[in-house]
Symmetry: C2
């Protein structure tokens, strides 16, 4: 049987990771999120915190700046190396079994090779701010500022490696506003479509 993959792209604080985990539970298939980071750490030698941060975010909020930053004499950066390892790990997983993969441009990486249901999860600023405070606690920075910075750097990462604009509906099969619809309804819809 051919495997079916669900890729979940999500805005920071939208609950996309939780939606991925619950959908996988409901469907009885594995969900790769933290487990993905473990595998990438194993194969790349990078630390997990570095992978978490630099496997989805650029260091600059502009993809043009990031295109020129931190490169060696040959134009390679650690982030490029990490991208290649991530790509390899994601392709291997999709080859092996049906699963849910959260983040890391899996939608783009698997575009030609796997039978994917590509999902995008987002929510408005207020709902996400509420969620990150309840999940990660307060910090010295206002939650809106943290979110805006994360959004910009994730969009820049996505644009740099995929040459597509982050958050455009047409890159996905379904996009869901988790803030309005709620986590449970999102899980229900995705499971039904699978």
């Amino acid at each position: 049987m051919k495997h079916r993959i669900i890729t979940i792209s999500r805005e920071f604080g939208s609950g996309g990771r939780t939606i991925g985990r619950l959908t996988a539970e409901k469907l009885g298939i594995p969900c790769y999120d933290h487990e993905l980071i473990d595998r990438i750490a194993e194969q790349s030698g990078f630390g997990k915190e570095y992978i978490k941060e630099r496997g989805e975010y650029t260091s600059h909020a502009s993809w043009i700046a990031s295109a020129f930053s931190e490169r060696d004499f040959y134009g390679h950066s650690n982030q490029d190396y990490l991208w290649n390892v991530q790509r390899k790990v994601i392709l291997e997983l999709a080859e092996k079994e049906s699963c849910v993969i959260v983040g890391r441009c899996a939608d783009y990486i698997l575009r030609d090779t796997a039978d994917c249901l590509k999902v995008f999860i987002y929510a408005d600023m207020a709902k996400r701010a509420e969620r990150i405070i309840s999940q990660y606690g307060e910090s010295s920075e206002a939650p809106e500022k943290r979110l805006r910075d994360k959004d910009k750097r994730r969009a820049a990462y996505y644009q740099f490696y995929t040459d597509m604009k982050w958050g455009e509906a047409r890159h996905y099969h379904i996009s869901l506003d988790s803030g309005t619809l709620g986590i449970e309804k999102c899980v229900h819809v995705i499971s039904e479509l699978y």
Copy 2:
């Protein structure tokens, strides 16, 4: 009881109108599409063909060009007048009953006043080309060219009157790729979420 409205924004050729009609049938509520045009014609005095064309499309593919085109001494255009009548008709409908409204920036017009489920329907170029040929027949222009022109002028209209970018997932509660998922599944998901 407060009314619930479903607004369907759709790419030309994506089957969004059919999805709206079938969803309304399933839910036992009216669907306003052609009926909307009849009402706008009655209240505005414009012809139906003019309303179909200029109630969702600019005459130019750029919203900047459209901002300066066809204006009288006071800066008003027929399209502005049409926008105001459309707006009034849509607000009246939403006030009166639960219904499905297809197109005409209803998502934006009702943003503050009604309990809406905002849906965006799209599909890839190949699927839409196939659909417009089966629906409207061949024309001297290649279907991809017709679609690209419609897309551009609809996006320009949307940007000009709403100041938002057409096709960004975050403007809607749910976005669905009807080309991959199929009309029936889209109807099912929207009805379930209602």
